[in-house]
């Protein structure tokens, strides 16, 4: 595990997501988006780790991540997903679902579409209207699914104004390099669980306290493995046979790591200590 870059950004980060790369592209990840929470003014920001002219000895790019552009976001960013190359969908604590559009020519973000009353306790028609936080969003072009504290599951289409409600239950991650698992946790730790077979030493699986979110890394190569069954090393009951090496990725532990995203060899995560960590050499 090579160096990891930290940057303090004056906002608590609730979500970080890499921008997906075009299919068939040979590049590594360059851009990621973050959402903040718990501020009086929250922001959705785009950052770049790309070409700044500094090459290190391996020919890779050095230096930490730079802000490309940002835009105000009403309410906490509860969840954030890239809809496609240019569009980002966010779920807000005000119950609003917003699609932001990135304009690469002048590096700005603008609101492309918005459903302001996606989630509510008492509806917009009633006198005691109260909104409910939208807690999660997932997209598969052209559809967006959102869930909220009101218990609703909404299905939106990107170009339609109204929601089409269906009962969608599962959210799937699509693993393509499923030997590697990354978890980030409320107690401020970030772990890399490596179950690839060429690791000589074995460690025992141990459980991290607090709520954690997991992520199976996905490479840019192909999506053909979508329907493959979950790999066996994670389900194996014989710990001696399958060796899992567990590495901590952050230099020191402080506040909760809220979100992480992995794309190829790049990892980004954001914490409640208002810092963003990026590494580009996960598997070296």
């Amino acid at each position: 595990m090579e160096e990891i870059y930290a940057k303090f950004v004056s906002q608590k980060i609730s979500k970080t997501r890499w921008r997906p790369l075009p299919p068939g592209s040979l590049q590594t990840a360059e851009t990621f988006a973050t959402g903040s929470w718990d501020n009086e003014e929250n922001y959705v920001s785009l950052w770049s780790i790309g070409d700044f002219g500094n090459l290190d000895s391996d020919g890779g790019f050095e230096g930490d991540h730079q802000l490309l552009c940002d835009i105000r976001h009403h309410g906490d960013v509860m969840d954030l997903q890239f809809f496609d190359q240019e569009r980002i969908v966010t779920a807000s604590s005000t119950g609003c679902v917003t699609v932001f559009l990135h304009h690469p020519n002048n590096q700005t973000l603008s609101v492309n579409q918005q459903w302001t009353t996606a989630h509510y306790h008492a509806g917009p028609g009633s006198p005691s209207y109260s909104s409910a936080p939208c807690t999660g969003v997932v997209c598969n072009n052209p559809e967006i699914v959102t869930v909220g504290e009101d218990g609703r599951i909404n299905l939106f289409r990107a170009d339609h104004k109204e929601a089409v409600r269906t009962i969608v239950w599962e959210v799937h991650f699509h693993p393509s390099n499923p030997d590697h698992l990354f978890t980030c946790s409320e107690d401020g730790s970030l772990w890399h669980w490596d179950a690839s077979t060429d690791v000589p030493e074995k460690s025992s699986l141990f459980h991290q306290g607090g709520r954690s979110s997991t992520f199976l890394s996905h490479s840019i190569s192909n999506q053909a493995n979508i329907h493959q069954a979950v790999i066996s090393s994670w389900l194996s009951t014989d710990p001696a046979k399958d060796r899992i090496e567990i590495t901590s990725l952050l230099p020191s532990r402080s506040l909760s790591v809220n979100s992480l995203d992995v794309l190829g060899p790049c990892l980004v995560c954001g914490t409640d200590a208002e810092a963003i960590y990026v590494t580009r050499h996960l598997f070296s």
Partner: protein, 611 residues
Amino acid sequence: MEEFDGEPAVTVIPGVNSKKNQMCFDWGPGEMLVCETSFSKKEKSEMVPSCPFIYIIRKDVDVYSQILRKLFNESHGIFLGLQRIDEELTGKSRKSQLVRVSKNYRSVIRACMEEMHQVAIAAKDPASGRQFSSQVSILSAMELIWNLCEILFIEVAPAGHLLLHLLDWVRLHVCEVDSLSADVLGSENPSNHDSFWNLPGNTQTLTELELKWQHWHEECEQYLQDSTFATNPHLESLLKIMLGDEAALLEQKELLSNWYHFLVTRLLYSNPTVKPIDLHYYAQSSLDLFLGGESSPEPLDNILLAAFEFDIHQVIKECSIALSNWWFVAHLTDLLDHCKLLQSHNLYFGSNMREFLLLEYASGLFAHPSLWQLGVDYFDYCPKLGRVSLELHIERIPLNTEQKALKVLRICEQRQMTEQVRSICKILAMKAVRNNRLGSALSWSIRAKDAAFATLVSDRFLRDYCERGCFSDLDLIDNLGPAMMLSDRLTFLGKYREFHRMYGEKRFADAASLLLSLMTSRIAPRSFWMTLLTDALPLLEQKQVIFSAEQTYELMQCLEDLMSRRPVRGESDIQQLQDEDIETTKVEMLRLALARNLARAIIREGSLEGS
């Protein structure tokens, strides 16, 4: 109580006419509420306030600055690392760790300074540019003081090393002086210095150094007395400077930016092996000579002087007065406390100085919508009053999403603050009930272990069932597990749902026993008995006999029990009469069904099996 230098600044609140009406105010943890009252200042009884708003006034602008936030966050990490330093470490290794922590703090201040400097330069309007610049100079002063404290108190540089450190200190901070003059006054004769100050290798002892220096000094004095350079006044004045002649140094006053620069230069040429305890004498006289009676010392000067006098308490006190927030004094005091430099004399309200400052700083953080999370860790490391302060503050954090509530709860649960957990869960349960999210409300009351609220929510569930004929949140009720025991009503709810499940699975005999037991064990509230008996009807009407004779008798007993306790009806209107009719019909149907079931049950039990 300190005297104020001048009048306190006046802040005008828009919309409030303080000339006409009296204002009222109240203090909060970091803010003040102000509004107009109805009481007019004049004697006339005009009881109408013109301004309908209540204003929130915040004192601490620093906490909101974007750039300073990075200071707070990064230093929080350093603070935690410092607290976790192994207490077992002693001696050199401990000292080097503490010095490293101090340097970390300073580098964070410098990073903040540089960023603010960039922003000041790029500022579009001059007013904000000025504001940023003044903030830069405040940070610069902070770093200056911290650096000096590091040299004197943490590094505890001995004579010899001391001057080297002081030289670095001055060089680092004298950035206004142009480089040429800095060379002239700061690093005279570098070759000579290099040979004398071969300290990294540390091959010479202090005495050897002193001897060498004395020798060199005497040589210079000899040149002066012999008037070797009398022909060239510049060279002669240079010679005087090298001898540490104060008058000569002061002639170059414009090149010396401040008195401590003068001090270090003076020491360099007159007493390079100065001992720490002698510093204050030189410091005081340098300050007096430099100011020359023309101006009086500024707060920064007093702080530095106090540091040279090794009066730590005075340093902290003066810094507390001069700076606008507690960040600096809290972190510096904490570090010095780790160096075991602060006597543990208690302030009169029960905590020592370190704790007092940390508490003030952390309370300030809690006034911020976002930085409260940092404050939690600071309270953790205040042994006397930290916990109770945290208990008071954490209940008052506004919780607008469940995610934030869960984070706050986790903080409380980690610290076994059960009262706060219960209180927060109750608030969330109440919110959920108001939003008609009964399942959510129930989970929160279970988490709070709040039996009374669980009863309330269960009642709502049952009422909903009566009105709509079906349950909401089945997944929750079906999987209550041992939490069901929290309250009787909740247990009933769980069991009642179980009855419905059994009925759905056509396990009629089990369902029947359960239904009966719900009434006979008195878990079911009396108000619900009619519903339960009505639920028994389909079981009574089945082709096969489900309730045994014994059970049928018990059911009849329950029915009569229920009927006998009915209040006597007085005058009633039409609606009530209609309801009564329905009731009477139901009761009659029940009686009939029970009687028929009894008959069949007796016959079946009386016959031989298998027939």
